[in-house]
């Protein structure tokens, strides 16, 4: 009896050891591949990242902390400006950028132009379904929500918008309070304008845009500048703003509120593109993997950026992306109609996009 007992115990122990060792071996190969990538990346010792001015600094701060041997530098700015810089460098045979981390539309364009290397994340299983768009051959690193933002103190008793359509018939006291941005240079703005275009159609959507003209809205150079004016109260009502730009202001305790429009907010994503001619291909891949890692995605969420990984909640204080009503946007279709949409915006708002 005792014998049997001990034998069974021994067998189970052996089995456990076996499973453990098999498991360890599996983990071991995964680790080996990762270690090789790290070693190769650290050998390259440098990495240049172009992209989104809000998210790239957060990403690189964490990356540098983890891989101090790799010297990371960055150029950030509005998507197309950065994209143009990348293209003119590459086409004159001087590729300097390794990774592009910015608005989806620029990454799609770069990919269609054949500038990007293939990138299949090793941990795709752990990514949320938003991370890999249908039919898209690129990966989104993070999301942002575009919604209404206003300064409650500066606005005081002035009515707040509840839905996009409220701008079609703006109250008189909105005059001089509204700020917006240019879809020609800002990808997030383009995504939003395209969403309105697709959701409401040229007629009804055009009426919304005409409301901006009626209220003497101001055209700001960037979402960040708009956030500043929101915070100071100089322009207390944004036609819309993006969570990355506003979360910093919110964190400082400014009297700013976000509001999901009744017809839905717009989700906008930053995508990861690795330059086909990247001077530091391994470091580039390491950064791309790192961006999607549990560690970084958690850090994103803490910094007010929407993560793309299952099991990590939306940032505190911001609407949950999974339960928020979103306007369906077919970005690929919108990009094909880019000129049409931009002209539509221009005609209705009276602003020049170029």
């Amino acid at each position: 009896m005792d014998h049997n007992k001990s034998r069974r115990r021994l067998m189970s122990l052996a089995a456990a050891a076996l499973t453990l060792s098999i498991g360890l071996a599996g983990v071991g190969t995964a680790h080996a591949a990762e270690d090789a990538l790290i070693a190769a990346a650290e050998k390259e010792a440098e990495l240049a990242v172009y992209g989104d001015p809000f998210v790239v600094p957060i990403l690189l701060k964490n990356f540098s902390a983890k891989y101090p041997k790799i010297r990371v530098t960055s150029a950030t700015g509005d998507g197309w400006q950065i994209y143009n810089r990348f293209v003119s460098e590459n086409s004159s045979g001087r590729p300097l950028m390794d990774v592009m981390y910015q608005a989806e539309d620029t990454v799609i364009t770069a990919q269609q132009a054949g500038f990007l290397a293939d990138f299949k994340p090793t941990e795709s299983a752990n990514l949320s379904k938003l991370a890999i768009p249908a039919g898209g051959s690129y990966v989104r690193g993070n999301g942002n929500l575009i919604l209404f933002a206003f300064n409650r103190e500066a606005l005081g008793t002035v009515a707040k918008p509840a839905d996009w359509t409220d701008f079609a018939n703006p109250p008189a006291d909105w005059e001089g309070l509204i700020a917006t941005t240019n879809p020609g240079s800002s990808s997030a703005t383009f995504a939003t304008i395209a969403s309105i275009y697709q959701k409401f159609g040229p007629e009804k959507g055009g009426a919304i845009l005409q409301g901006l003209r009626k209220t003497k809205a101001e055209l700001n150079p960037s979402m960040g500048v708009m956030a500043t004016k929101l915070q100071t109260g100089e322009r207390p009502l944004d036609f819309f703003n993006i969570t990355t730009a506003v979360s910093g202001v919110l964190a400082k305790g400014a009297p700013v509120d976000l509001l999901v429009p009744a017809s839905g907010a717009v989700a906008q994503f930053n995508a990861i593109g690795i330059n086909k001619n990247a001077p530091h291909p391994n470091a580039a891949r390491l950064l791309a993997e790192f961006a999607l890692s549990q560690e970084m995605q958690t850090a994103f969420a803490e910094a007010g950026v929407y993560p793309m990984r299952v099991g990590i909640a939306s940032p505190k204080g911001l609407p949950d992306i999974n339960s928020t009503k979103l306007i369906e946007l077919d970005l690929a279709a919108a990009l094909k109609q880019r000129d049409e949409i931009l002209n539509w915006w221009s005609d209705n708002t009276g602003f020049k996009y170029r």
Binding site: A48, V49, Y50, P53, F54, P57, K61, S64, T73, S74, A75, T76, G77, D78, W80, Q81, Y83, N84, R85, S88, E89, S92, R94, L96, M97, T106, T109, A154, G176, A179, N182, G184, S185, E218, L219, N220, P221, S222, M223, G224, V225, M226, A227, T228, Q231, T232, G233, E234, A245, G248, V249, K252, G253, A254, F351, K352, Y353, R354
Partner: protein, 577 residues
């Protein structure tokens, strides 16, 4: 008469006969070789960017063939918004020029020619706006004069006066630009007033003119060439300004040519032809301004520039001198002290104007890796470029002042060419050129350094030349005859004598370089971001308080270092005498 340039009237000369073989010794040949090298360097630094820009405006690639085209030109001419940008540039620049000239002349006159108390200190303070980069100045004025929330409007509203100020207007931009440029006019006119022979005015008063008429009929006309050159300089600076119109003009769609170039670069697909043509616009504007200046000064010599230090005639104001001083102080509070205090307050606020204060934005300066790396880049670029600019400027002015080498006039022309070209346009030319060249300068700090040198070497040339001209060539010749070679002569005699000019030229270009934004904008890459780019990016993402603390850092680096260098050298200079 200068012995180095024996100017003998031609009519007493004997015409050159062509049958005499011209002898060129090795000594002269070596000289020519060096000169050729300098030509090449300067042509590459100063001329090629301009040439590239012009070429880029008129060529395009069609089916991978390079073709000559007027597409970009006609596109620009056909588009009303470019005309509007041109119009805005002209209107704002002329407005700022006039305002800056009026302020500069009045300040110069009050501070040099009257017994205003503490004139010396006031004069030094009044030059300070130069060291407040336009971007930062505009930033401060947003805090002061924005509608709804600007400090002035808050005050006026509190007083029940409503909103009186809006900085996002033509007038706002003109004011913000003018107070930045006025010190240049003031310095130029003050120098002229100091160099003016007081007997010119004494003669007028003996002839029976009263003080006011003496000033209007004698003093002003005599210094008019200086006023004019100050005004033209203001205009040229103004058309090339980027920071001010970006911050103040763009939201109200008051685009200037520089901001159009910037937005053009932000759009997809980019049209570099249009960008180049817009930059050529700016070039043409400044060429016209300089041409008009030359035309107006034709036949007028700068009688005031004698190099002789006169003791200026001081006009004694009675008790009104305190009133004048008070007005100047008010001006300084508005233009220097106020903005600096407001930026400081913003830097220590959690957000503007939360009323709660924090160290976070300031500790950010030494905890942020971005600040560290961009600061390092800025300092390295600035020190290398300022030193190289000064050295090159010294060599060029030495060649033009001291030698009769063939082509030295061309050298001077080549150097002066980029002076009237706005930095943003010039930088675009630099990037076009170096992207075409086989050597990989693009993407390194060197392209920024090369751009800065090419654009600003004329500043150093001007500063050193005027000092070198006052040093008699016989001082060098006597060293040569005493047995010193060319190099030792320069080292032992020339350099020590022009040292003050060299230092002031270094400090001047340093203060420009450390905060230069529009030159760096098209040339920086991930690796070579500078502090000015960081603060611009920080502004774009809306971290207003951090922009304020970065601005403070830039002020310290600019005005602070300048103050240090001048104090240190002045002491050393005083010790040496």
């Amino acid at each position: 008469m200068s012995k180095a340039n024996v100017n003998i009237p031609d009519e007493i000369g004997v015409p050159e006969r062509s049958n005499v073989r011209r002898f060129l010794s090795r000594r002269a040949l070596t000289g020519r070789l060096w000169l050729t090298v300098f030509y090449l360097v300067l042509v590459i630094f100063a001329v090629m960017p301009i040439a590239s820009l012009v070429i880029r405006g008129f060529v395009d690639t069609e089916d991978s063939r390079v073709v000559l085209t007027l597409n970009a030109v006609s596109a620009v001419l056909a588009e009303p918004s470019y005309w509007a940008a041109m119009w805005n540039t002209v209107v704002i620049s002329i407005g700022a020029m006039l305002l800056a000239t009026v302020i500069g002349v009045i300040l110069a006159w009050c501070l040099v020619r009257t017994n205003v108390p503490w004139a010396r200190l006031l004069e030094q303070l009044a030059t300070l706006p130069i060291f407040i980069p336009p971007f930062i100045g505009a930033f401060a004025w947003v805090l002061i004069g924005a509608p709804r929330v600007g400090l002035l409007n808050l005050t006026f509203r509190g007083l029940g006066a409503g909103e009186l100020v809006d900085i996002y207007t033509y007038l706002g931009i003109i004011w913000t630009t003018a107070i930045y440029i006025a010190p240049y006019v003031m310095m130029i006119v003050a120098a002229a007033l100091r160099n003016m022979d007081p007997s010119l005015e004494e003669a007028a008063q003996i002839s029976g003119l009263n003080r006011v008429r003496t000033m209007l009929l004698i003093t002003l006309p005599v210094v008019a060439p200086s006023i004019l050159s100050g005004a033209v300089l203001s205009f040229v600076i103004c058309i090339g300004l980027f920071g001010t119109p970006v911050l103040l003009g763009m939201t109200k769609e008051i685009y200037m040519v520089t901001t159009r170039i910037y937005t053009e670069l932000q759009h997809f697909p980019p049209n570099f032809g249009i960008v180049a043509v817009l930059a050529i616009y700016l070039m043409v504007l400044s060429v016209i301004a300089n041409f008009l200046q030359g035309w107006a000064l034709k036949g007028r010599s700068f009688v005031t520039v004698t190099g002789k230090g006169f003791r200026p005639r001081i006009i004694t104001l009675a008790s009104s001198r305190y009133l004048v001083a008070a007005v100047i102080w008010l001006y300084l509070v508005l233009t220097v002290i106020g903005p600096v205090i407001i930026i400081t307050a913003a830097a220590f606020s959690t957000f503007t104007w939360s009323g709660t204060f924090t160290w976070a934005n300031v500790t950010f300066l030494w905890t942020s890796e971005d600040v560290r790396s961009t600061l390092w880049n800025s300092v390295v670029i600035t020190i290398i470029a300022a030193t190289a600019t000064t050295v090159l400027g010294f060599v060029v002015s030495w060649i033009t002042v001291r030698t009769r080498m063939a082509g030295r006039e061309i050298l001077q022309f080549v150097v002066l060419l980029p002076m009237s070209i706005p930095s943003l346009a010039f930088a675009l030319g630099v990037s076009f050129f170096w992207l075409w060249m086989p050597w990989s300068v693009y993407g390194t700090i060197w392209i920024i350094i090369i751009g800065l040198i090419g654009r600003y070497v004329s500043y150093a040339v001007r500063a050193v030349t005027s000092s070198l001209m006052q040093i008699h060539p016989e001082l060098e010749e006597s060293a040569r005859v005493s047995g010193f070679g060319w190099l030792s002569t320069v080292g032992r005699i020339t350099l020590p004598l022009v040292l003050p000019a060299i230092i002031s030229s270094w400090v001047m270009v340093y203060s420009i370089y450390i905060s230069e934004l529009s030159m760096v904008l098209p040339l920086y890459t991930a690796n070579t971001r500078t502090l000015s780019i960081l603060s611009f990016d920080t502004w774009a993402v809306g971290e207003f308080s951090q922009v304020a603390s970065l601005s403070l850092l830039q002020l310290v680096l600019g005005a602070g270092v300048m103050w240090l260098v001048t104090t240190f050298t002045r002491q050393r200079h005083a010790a040496a005498v």
